[in-house]
Subunit: 340 residues, 3 copies
């Protein structure tokens, strides 16, 4: 496929300009420092900008930056310029790569209760087990060894990767992706202390994943005692994330690897929680807030706030304090002298 | 079911008093701020107390509090008073809700070695695999796609959720629950450094889960090189908890989501470890101790102590220091002036 | 088996000296404080040294320490002395214990695409599912309910424990071990923000695990958008570890439980990351570096450096600061007086 073909395959409104050079034949995609002459790559600017002078790629996606474009042209590199290089690169990857998705059909080894309602063109893999009263939407795809408990609803085109488990009565929307090993809708951690030990509070509620939600490998989203645990449209969870009973996560959030939300947490829309962030019971995080890695949130985060540290403080304060942290031994010496 | 029926269905000794109002017909349970007129809810006091004036519920569990009871009565709400509202609410949930449990029987697709000893009324789901010399107690229930390695013992009425894995020679007691994706008894992380790289120390020990233990989704409890990893009666682990080789956890503990115990840790009875707590090799935690979220314990915690922070310090100190933390930039300015 | 037989079964170059006493018959291995008269144990020195006077073991592995050896002899204990007691103990465990490994053969319930290439003496367990174009090396062993996506290569003698999942095109070397619930090669967490929400960047790269790598239970190693996520020879990952897209981990590293590496991280050789360590995007960790538990690394760690804390600082500084931490309330009082 030549660069001119790639340009044609892309949504035109993302492209500002392009230069075909000798319209090289491109076989695939690569990072700019790893690309060879048959690959297309991208430069977003910043620290990678200088790689326009060293990359072996014969085609690049570039930001709207005349200097970079001239350098590329000077080296005989074809380029496509855009205001969103990373987004356009994602679009180019789609031109070259389609992830594995099995064909529609029911594998003969799948065990499906007769009460299950299957949409059109569903794909049910080998050794899948579907308990009673489940509904699968059109085009739903369950890979090998998935287990679905009774009463679950799975929306159109939703993809369940191998070895994930969906528990009773969970409602999973359209176009969701549940990765391998994830567990959706298992009972929340609800125990009431008594003199005889823990008394189990049965978890009669449900988990709701709205349309376009993705749940990473080996993550777990628990159902509550009453009501719902809900993750709203297009929110993405990375691997090994723990969402406890009764939490609500808004739309378009991203929760990175190993984040944990305790019971009853409320997360607004467009929130970013970086890796290993922990959020305590009943905490409330406003729209557009950001927590950097390993932050511990135990109360409220205002909309748009950036927080860091455990317990969480505003990121600007955290950065000041972290800088001072290294000087504490000196401060302590001064303090001791003063005390004398 | 009317409120009078609910009262009859409950253990009388938990109930102090009740008022039937017009003995409304109740169809289910809900949180007090989400309930409708056909649902029963509960108020424990504190910040939810004012909801007695706004809830749409027609039946409430209340603490022993005359003011709250009068307010409920004034609004025509039936109520049941108790010293333990949350516990009674858990009992009421059980009246309305029974979690899914498949019937006894062996699914024809299960692969069970002929040497396996099955108790009475066991339930073995589709695609379960049981290796040789396993014993399942009476009423044990294995959901779909569970795998049990050789030599495992599983006690009466123990429930293994879909896609969990029990490794060789683990001993699991009665009335345990192992949630989906959990792995019990896999080999501990035992490697000895040598000039040629890591030499694997085979893990010849076993995991023992005593009666009434619950293990959350995607948690892992490893077996040690020699001896046992043991979790004692009625202790509950939440999701994504890691228990390394040779750890001992006492009775009636609760370990919240993403807690990690390193090798050889000893945890006493009635210990609470909040989310993402980490405990280092060979640390010892006394009976009744509490660690708040994200605490890092690397040594000893005295019985009954409450600890926080990483490294862990007494919670009272941690709270003081956290308050001062925000003033470090001011302190640093003062320190610089003094140094001049 | 008598102690003299054990001595014969061991590699001679690890043994410095030995004393058979009455050459007791030994049935197994145990920790020194738990051993009985039929078990062999080991003492590395340090805090366990005094146990030579109390252990019930009739055979011990000892360091090269005449005092300890004399004490053992005086108590009638047979001993083997070595410069590496833990390593020799690991060798002795192997004499007594062989972990479960199923025999070669294909279980009739396994679902294997006809295009799959099977080496000699492979073992494929019940309900395993292997998608098209997979290659299994000689002696590869897949336990029950493993799922392997298309195009995967698995090296000779590699062991895949029950319920693990290997995603498309992953390359797994020889003599690797993938523990239960682990997920290798699932798509990385790649989403580009747009005004319409997250745009999925397809993950066209692959995961490569080189020879001798081990991956713990419920860990996840993701594939990147382009290029590779690579874990080099003989590196060991504990349980619940998260390796994001595009990370590179060197040879002979050990990553303890619940460690998380964000996207594009580079870890050198012989690196030790203790439990719950987090490493941020694009961070670089030099050869031989060590991070203590719960460290948060967001930048660079020099070769051989020991770091602690979040954000990470040199361990020596961290220890000083942690000691001062407890005195912050006193420092703050002084600071307030000075300000007045």
């Amino acid at each position: 496929m030549n660069v001119s073909d790639i340009v044609k395959a892309l949504t035109p409104d993302l492209i500002i300009d392009h230069s075909l050079a000798d319209d090289p034949d491109i076989a695939g995609v690569a990072a700019v420092d790893a690309a060879n002459a048959t690959q297309i790559s991208y430069i977003e600017g910043g620290k990678f900008a200088s790689m326009v002078e060293t990359t072996a790629a014969k085609a690049l996606i570039l930001p709207v930056d005349e200097v970079l474009q001239q350098k590329a042209t000077a080296r005989g590199i074809a380029w496509i310029s855009t205001k969103a290089p990373r987004l356009l690169f994602a679009a180019v990857i789609k031109v070259f790569y389609t992830p594995f998705r099995p064909a529609a059909g029911i594998h003969p080894t799948a065990v499906i209760d007769p009460s299950v309602v299957l949409g059109e063109d569903v794909s049910v893999g080998a050794h899948v087990v579907i308990y009673p009263n489940v509904r699968l939407g059109n085009g739903a795809c369950l890979l090998a060894n998935v287990v679905v408990y009774p009463g679950v609803e799975i929306g159109d085109r939703t993809l369940l990767h191998a070895n994930c488990t969906i528990h009773e009565r969970a409602k999973i929307g359209k176009d969701c992706v549940i990765h391998s090993g994830a567990v959706i809708g298992a009972e929340g951690f609800g125990f009431v202390p008594t003199p005889q030990g823990w008394f189990k509070m049965e978890q009669s509620g449900i988990v709701v994943l709205e349309d376009g939600v993705e749940i990473g490998c080996n993550s777990a989203v628990d159902r509550p005692a009453v009501g719902e645990t809900r993750i709203k449209t297009r929110t993405k969870l990375d691997n090994l994330v723990h969402i406890a009973h009764g939490a609500t996560v808004g739309s378009n959030c991203a929760l990175a690897g190993q984040v944990g939300l305790a019971g009853g947490v409320t997360v607004g829309n467009n929130v970013l929680l970086a890796g290993q962030v922990g959020v305590a019971n009943e905490a409330v995080i406003g729209d557009g807030a950001i927590a950097t890695a390993q932050t511990g949130i135990n109360n409220k985060v205002a909309p748009g706030e950036i927080v860091s540290g455990s317990p969480a403080v505003p990121n600007a304060l955290y950065r000041k304090v972290s800088a001072i942290y290294k000087r504490l031994p000196d401060m302590y010496q001064t303090f001791r002298k003063l005390n004398k």
